[in-house]
């Protein structure tokens, strides 16, 4: 998030796109409700009429996967009407002229045809967002989990820069991160193309710094993303895989392919807190500890580095992840993995990562510190890009609308959207062990629009088979107008009827995120 969570309360307009906020980020939804009660306008763009959409001043029911067209359409109207922030565009950005020309063809009429959103609503949304004193964008996996995920994000950046709604209190671009520490693991480069703190593999000075600190020669080529790893297994590229706190047997697209890949490994090591579906395939299991049994830091969605404090001693053979990793490193002949405590690990982070350079356990204390924090004296960065963008001027990058990878056809006539249910988290490895949560729901379902259900003679509660080109699952039907006619929705938490048996492993060409949000399926009544 470029802003802090608390700032959302003060926004005058919040554009929520591809985020089922109440269900997936309820605490952030609370801030949005508070903003609304203080008079903020709420715009929701989503192919499903989610809970938060029912609280919106304006709900734009887009067709799945047409976000770029929606945003380009809004930009078209905003620029045509002169509602953009001329001063911000002039002083803080570059490439506006190119964007302006590019956006010409995204007329309300054309955009309405692509997206299914009435022209009048596009105009209302454009005016609401552009003219409000402080507007914020909130987005989530509905934006990123597409073959055009990067394009979606770029178009949101264009919108925020054109309207000057970034770099201010309560005004910015705010992706909501899912796991408590997914921000932290990205910060620490649990991604294959950068070093910790988003430092470039192409920068000789950066490489020299890390090589000196670690006493090793670092590879200069980016590694593989998780989806590329799955493909590289069995083709001779990857023979062993070490999985930590991840359950690809439920969370990755096209699970049958994932299973074949994992089963063909010579060595699969899984480090987790519970025996997951992926643990079941492991040759070696390393038991990690839960949040209650460890010290360390988590970085929240608004870049806040926070302390986690051990409440109880590790149970059984479980050990903190950092100790397991150090021991594995020692066994592999790397004695320098030598730390007395998590705070020593953190000190090393601060010494090598400029974004974290001013942060220490002492300074984090009770309230946490938000990066960037480059010196011991620097304050927490509440919102980013105040006077300048990290690269100086913000560059508009016009993006064209592209259709999703797999659209419905005669054989597979429905769009399948996958996502979250309110009562479970991700692959259910934790939440499906909770009695109070499984007491609410412990079975998968498919949301079907009443008109489609009628046509297919599917009744509420009836077992329904969903089939895609990759597999089939049988789940209970929920008849609801939350989904559009022609679309169905399945939550992906339930391993025994995993939605990801169906999903398409087509990837965004840049960041290789799979298109979890759209694939083609057919529906059949189960006799």
């Amino acid at each position: 998030m470029t802003n802090s969570v608390e700032e959302l309360e003060d926004a005058a307009c919040i554009l929520i796109i591809g985020s089922n906020t109440t269900v997936a980020h309820p605490i952030i939804a609370t801030r949005i409700f508070r903003a609304r009660e203080k008079g903020a306008k709420i715009i929701v763009v989503d192919p499903r009429k989610t809970h938060i959409a029912s609280y919106a001043d304006l709900y734009l029911a887009e067709k799945s996967g047409t976000d770029v067209a929606v945003i380009n359409g809004l930009l078209h109207i905003i620029i045509k009407e002169g509602w953009y922030d001329k001063e911000f565009v002039e002083k803080r950005t570059e490439g506006f002229a190119v964007l302006k020309t590019f956006i010409e063809e995204y007329t309300p009429a054309r955009v309405s045809e692509i997206t299914g959103i009435p022209e009048v609503q596009l105009r209302q949304a454009a005016e609401m967002f552009a003219k409000a004193k402080q507007s914020s964008i909130v987005y989530c996996m509905g934006i990123t989990q597409h073959t055009v995920g990067v394009d979606n994000v770029l178009s949101l950046a264009n919108l925020s820069m054109a309207t000057g709604h970034i770099g201010k209190w309560a005004s910015g671009v705010n992706p909501l991160r899912g796991q408590n520490n997914v921000q932290g693991s990205t910060d620490m480069a649990a991604i294959p193309n950068v070093l910790p703190g988003y430092q470039s593999l192409a920068d000789d000075a950066v490489i020299a710094k890390f090589e000196t600190a670690w006493g090793v020669t670092l590879p200069r080529k980016p590694g593989l993303t998780i989806m590329e790893m799955m493909d590289a297994i069995g083709t001779g590229g990857i023979r062993a895989l070490y999985v930590m706190g991840e359950n690809p047997m439920v969370s990755d697209p096209d699970i049958q392919h994932v299973k074949k890949a994992l089963e063909s490994l010579e060595l699969l090591i899984v480090q987790d807190i519970f025996p997951t579906e992926t643990v079941a395939l492991a040759h070696v299991v390393l038991p990690g500890v839960t949040f209650a049994e460890k010290d360390g830091t988590f970085v929240s969605t608004d870049r806040r580095v926070q302390r986690i404090r051990k409440a109880i001693e590790p149970i059984g053979e479980a050990r903190p992840d950092w100790q397991i990793i150090c021991d594995v490193a020692h066994a592999m002949g790397a004695p320098d993995f030598d730390y007395a405590s998590p705070s020593e690990v953190f000190d090393e982070i601060a010494s090598l990562v400029p974004l974290f350079a001013g942060i220490s356990y002492d300074r984090i204390a009770e309230n946490g510190i938000q990066w960037p924090c480059r010196t011991k004296e620097a304050p927490s960065t509440v919102f980013m890009h105040k006077d300048t963008f990290s690269k100086g001027l913000g560059t508009f990058k016009p993006v064209a609308y592209k259709a999703p990878a797999e659209l419905p056809d005669e054989e597979y006539p429905f769009i399948l959207i996958t996502g979250r249910d309110a009562f479970h988290y991700h692959t259910g490895s934790m939440t499906r062990r909770s009695k109070s949560l499984t007491g609410q729901i412990n079975r998968c379902y498919v949301q079907i629009h009443p008109a489609d259900a009628k046509k297919l003679r599917i009744k509420a509660g009836q077992l329904t088979r969903l089939r895609s080109r990759r597999g089939a699952i049988e789940v209970e039907a929920r008849i609801t107008p939350i989904v559009q006619s022609g679309s169905v929705f399945v939550p992906f938490h339930f391993a025994e009827t995993a939605a990801n048996v169906l999903t398409n492993p087509a990837l965004d060409p840049v960041v290789k995120i799979p298109e979890f949000k759209i694939c083609a399926v057919k529906l059949e009544k189960v006799a």
């Binding site: 404090r309 204390a365 009770e366 309110a422 007491g439």
Partner: protein
């Protein structure tokens, strides 16, 4: 504070009290803790102040494992009101609970909008005047019935069914809960069926709610639950001359229902 510590130390070392429920400062955060004779040094980290927990409910949890234990509790006005009702509802044995009273500061009283920011006697703090707040309720009462319904439906619609209101409530002592029953309120949906989910809870609060406000503080969705329960409390006070947590003697009005033997039964 010193008098409080001394009082607890004396009771633990010389008196019959086996443990005292209070707040301990741990890693910079206060949390509930049972102070005992065996670890008397823990008393150095005893705190009272801003942090609030349903201490009476935590005490009840301890006592459920050992009904005859003789325990104490560091009690603010709200905690003592909770104990009074837990005793009236035959959950705690009043003769075995010793109260170490703490009077709240005027800042605390106004932050909590507390109707009685002090227990019957206290070892720490000074008595300050109650802060009565009926503003939210008055505002709603002035609305038309239709507007009021719309307001509450809108608020109930924000509920994510986390059960935080019930789980934090010192008066939610039942061991089974209507709000978990699929036959009464459909499970597995958010918001939970409205308005029934919240109205059931409101009715159950009628002669119990001690107006501590922990429910509203716990609610992640910002539903003004306290205002709702205040309404129930007002109705019970007006109709029956009974105010939970304040009326010292006798049964609650709903305890007279049924065969009249409620007061003799253990549990609920």
């Amino acid at each position: 504070m010193d008098r409080l510590r001394e009082g607890i130390r004396d009771a633990l070392t010389e008196g019959p009290v086996a443990g005292v429920m209070g707040l301990i400062l741990d890693g910079g955060h206060p949390r509930p803790h049972l102070f005992t004779k065996g670890r008397i040094e823990d008393l150095d980290r005893l705190v009272v102040g801003e942090a609030r927990y349903p201490l009476a409910a935590v005490l009840l949890k301890v006592l459920r494992n050992d009904l005859d234990a003789h325990l104490g509790i560091v009690a603010r006005g709200c905690d003592e009101r909770a104990i009074l009702e837990l005793v009236r509802n035959v959950q705690l044995n009043g003769e075995r609970v010793v109260v170490f009273g703490v009077a709240c500061s005027s800042e605390q009283a106004s932050a909590c909008q507390c109707p009685q920011p002090y227990p019957s006697s206290h070892l720490s703090g000074e008595r300050v005047a109650p802060v009565s707040d009926s503003e939210g309720l008055d505002r709603l009462d002035r609305l038309s019935e239709e507007e009021r319904l719309q307001y509450w439906m809108d608020q109930f619609g924000k509920c994510i069914k986390c059960y935080g209101c019930r789980n934090i409530c010192p008066m939610c002592f039942c061991t089974t809960c209507t709000l978990d029953e699929d036959d009464l309120i459909q499970t597995g949906t958010i918001p939970p069926e409205k308005p029934i989910f919240h109205l059931i809870r409101a009715f159950h609060m009628a002669e119990r709610c001690i107006d501590c406000g922990l429910c509203e503080a716990a609610c992640p969705s910002g539903i003004p639950l306290r205002t709702l329960y205040k309404k129930m409390r007002n109705v019970v006070t007006t109709r029956f001359g009974f105010t939970p947590g304040i009326t010292k003697e006798g049964k609650g009005p709903l305890q007279y229902l049924g065969d009249g033997k409620f007061g003799e039964q253990e549990g609920h």
